[in-house]
């Protein structure tokens, strides 16, 4: 099962390597990991996507909680939640192809954020599957470069993951 886990951790150098080290040392899967400071500069928020059966996920959350720098943790997969990932993709767009690319961007509600004679950089946000679909639709030979953030997640409802 795929799980998306939100973690609040102390914004200290080393905290990230403790999390990453835990996954490699214990042989857990890590599909993606994003991290950045929150509005409270002493805290970072991490979103981590992993896979495993129930027992493994239970160990992962327990082991994460055991890290001294982990303040709070929530397995978003336990409830309704929203996931978004951002992608910037550089596409070949030469004479004759430019309209077609623009149409695709429109269909996917993307934004062109950089233009040259021969390329566009497109910014796209959405569920990971939507980004996958865009890449597929854009055709392999026209993709110059892709950079993705990995999913971010937040629970639906009025409650927040806070101190």
């Amino acid at each position: 099962m795929r799980h998306i886990i939100s973690i609040l951790l102390e914004n200290e150098s080393g905290a990230l390597s403790r999390v990453a080290g835990l996954f490699s040392a214990r042989g857990y899967n890590i599909e993606s990991l994003t991290v950045a400071p929150t509005e409270d500069a002493t805290l970072s928020r991490m979103t981590l996507v992993t896979r495993g059966d129930e027992a493994i996920i239970e160990q992962i959350t327990k082991q994460l909680n055991k890290l001294v720098e982990v303040v709070k943790l929530l397995d978003l997969s336990d409830g309704p939640h929203i996931e978004r990932e951002m992608m910037m993709i550089k596409l070949k767009a030469e004479n004759g192809q430019r309209d077609e690319v623009l149409r695709l961007v429109e269909i996917f509600r993307g934004k062109v954020v950089d233009v040259t004679d021969t390329t566009f950089v497109v910014e796209l946000t959405g569920k990971s599957a939507k980004l996958d679909a865009f890449i597929k639709a854009a055709q392999e030979e026209s993709v110059v470069e892709v950079v993705r953030s990995g999913p971010l997640g937040i629970a639906r409802g009025s409650k927040g993951l806070k101190l």
Binding site: R18, Q59, K62
Partner: protein, 572 residues
């Protein structure tokens, strides 16, 4: 009070009540050594290898319950300490290890004697710190000691760059009274509802067994354990790490369980209907094959670390909390409930257990003309009246000591269980003897293990530590040889310990007393003589049967009901 970073380090140790610090100097810690020089409160013990420093601090901690402290330099000092740190980590021992680091501006430049100590030790510490500023020293020490000793204990490393201890930079010092860490809150008590459920299950049990471990020792909860187990009249078995928490000579005690546990303990595990696990972590040496572990049991598990619960074996009633508090709450709930164990069923259960006991699984040849290791440990027990601290190395001798020295008190059996570190025994013994100068401290070891930290004999001389070393000399890495005999058709690949030194002369050359003992009839007399030398370290080279094996034995990955009981025996 204005102090330098180095002086603050010493002051913090004083504030934490540290008596001894086991260490070895080097460039990165010279400022700290200079501050040590001009004070009397913290006594520094100079070891001969940093591994020895960490094991000695560890032995001190295991025998007292207080955190052990070690101090080593950067680079090779720190890497030499890693084995001792990992050893303490695996057995959840409270320890604070101070490592020197190159000056902050040099970090990351491959400077002389630089290693990434925080990175190297990260997977084998409870937590570690790199101090970046002299102003952070006090709070970091406060946190480190708090982390090492609270919750599930463990080693904490503090990495201190040399410039942070600069004697010329003085700042005001005050030690924080309280420390709050928003991200670290160990549980103080178990859930009462779960405790009630557990008691109800326990009272309805027909074939209950207590399975207890190192957590009981770590939490000093022997009294509560004995009260509960006696009150219920249930059988109890212990892991290697829990020995002594419940008196080994008590009739309710079934002996150790697991790979080299007794027949009765393992069979009771296999047949039990309610397993009460307390401060034990279902290690693979204990469970054997998980699929056939306690096949009929409802499992109650008390542990302070949620990640110990349902890690290897799914449990039915998890109770997260400190052993001592949970046990006393259990006693309270039991009293309140007025419930009684099922006496008829319990009687049947004990009858079954007594049958298993009849197999006399620890029997050995008492008429042997060569000294049997079991006999040597029994003799040690007799001569020390069962009251010595016994530090052990790793191998067959460790198992014989565990099986045959009936420990009646906690913190008397000191050994490396989780990591199984050869070389642990002698330095651990030093830490124990430092903490208990009047006590009899025996080091049970093998001729292979002892050579891994033999240099500490010099430390023992310098500080007059009158350890009694009992070397069970079988000329082999016996535990390895045993596996090769059982599982590799007797191909003894590189397990013969060739070119042994003359241990008597070796001991003497370090200024100690050496003895070689070759006949069973000489053993007791020699041992009495050795223990009679109150102020001397005596090294007893006891020549034992090289072919002896440890029984019972459950092959790795087999179930509790599949044991080898004696030489040539079929599985039972």
């Amino acid at each position: 009070m204005e102090l330098s970073g180095a002086e603050i380090v010493i002051q913090c140790l004083k504030e934490e009540g540290v008596e001894f610090i086991f260490g070895y100097p080097g460039g990165a810690v010279l400022h700290i050594y200079d501050a040590l020089f001009s004070q009397q409160d913290v006594q520094h013990i100079l070891v001969r290898h940093e591994q020895g420093a960490t094991h000695a601090a560890d032995g001190y901690a295991r025998s007292t319950g207080k955190p052990g402290v070690a101090l080593v330099t950067s680079g090779p000092g720190a890497t030499n300490a890693v084995t001792g740190i990992a050893t303490a980590y695996m057995d959840s021992i409270p320890m604070v290890v101070l490592t020197g680091q190159v000056p902050s501006p040099f970090i990351g430049s491959d400077a002389f004697q630089e290693v990434d100590t925080v990175g190297i030790t990260r997977p084998c510490v409870k937590h570690n710190f790199l101090i970046k500023n002299v102003h952070d020293i006090a709070a970091t020490f406060r946190k480190a000691f708090y982390l090492a000793t609270s919750g599930r204990p463990g080693p904490v490393v503090i990495d201190i760059p040399k410039d942070v201890t600069d004697p010329n930079v003085k700042i005001p010092f005050s030690y924080p009274k309280k420390i709050k860490m928003r991200s670290y809150n160990p549980v103080a008590k178990g859930h009462l509802g779960q405790i009630r459920r557990a008691i109800e299950l326990m009272l309805n049990a027909e074939r209950p067994v207590f399975y207890t471990g190192g957590g009981v020792v770590l939490d000093d909860a022997s009294k509560q354990l004995v009260d509960l187990v006696r009150k219920l009249g249930y059988p109890i078995t212990s892991t290697l790490m829990g020995l002594g928490a419940y008196p080994g000579s008590d009739k309710q005690f079934l002996g150790m369980l697991g790979m080299h546990g007794t027949y009765e303990a393992n069979m009771a595990m296999h047949e039990t209907d309610v397993l009460i696990a307390i401060g034990a972590r279902f290690d693979d040496r204990v469970t054997g094959q998980v699929a056939s572990f306690c096949p009929n049991a409802t499992i109650i598990h008390v542990d302070i670390d949620p990640s110990s619960i349902s890690k290897n074996v799914r449990v039915d009633v998890p109770i997260v909390g400190p052993v001592k508090k949970v046990l006393s709450d259990m006693l309270g709930v039991l009293d309140e409930s007025g419930g009684e164990p099922k006496s008829a069923a319990l009687k049947r259960w004990w009858k079954q257990i007594d049958e298993w006991r009849g197999a006399d699984c620890l029997k050995y040849d008492r008429n042997s003309k060569i000294i049997k290791p079991q006999f040597a440990v029994e003799t040690l027990h007799r001569v020390t009246k069962g009251d010595a601290f016994v530090a052990s190395d790793v191998g067959q001798h460790q198992m014989f000591a565990a099986q045959f020295y009936q420990f009646d008190k906690p913190r008397r059996w000191i050994n490396s269980g989780g990591l199984g570190t050869m070389g642990f025994g002698l330095p651990a013994g030093m830490g124990i003897q430092m903490a208990h100068p009047q006590a009899e401290v025996a080091v049970v070891t093998g001729e292979a293990s002892i050579q891994m930290c033999i240099q500490e004999l010099a430390t023992c001389k310098q500080y007059n530590l009158p350890l009694k070393i009992m070397l069970l000399n079988n000329g082999y890495m016996g535990m390895v040889r045993q596996w090769q005999e059982f599982f590799y058709d007797g191909r003894y690949s590189h397990s013969y310990v060739d070119s042994l030194p003359d241990f008597v002369k070796l001991a003497e050359s370090y200024g100690h007393v050496g003895m070689k003992i070759e006949k069973p009839e000489d053993l007791e007399g020699a041992m009495k003589e050795a223990f009679g030398m109150k102020d001397r370290l005596v090294f007893m080279d006891v020549v034992i049967d090289p072919a002896e094996n440890v029984y019972p034995m459950i092959e790795a990955g087999k179930g509790h009901h599949e044991m080898y009981l004696s030489p040539g025996s079929e599985l039972v």
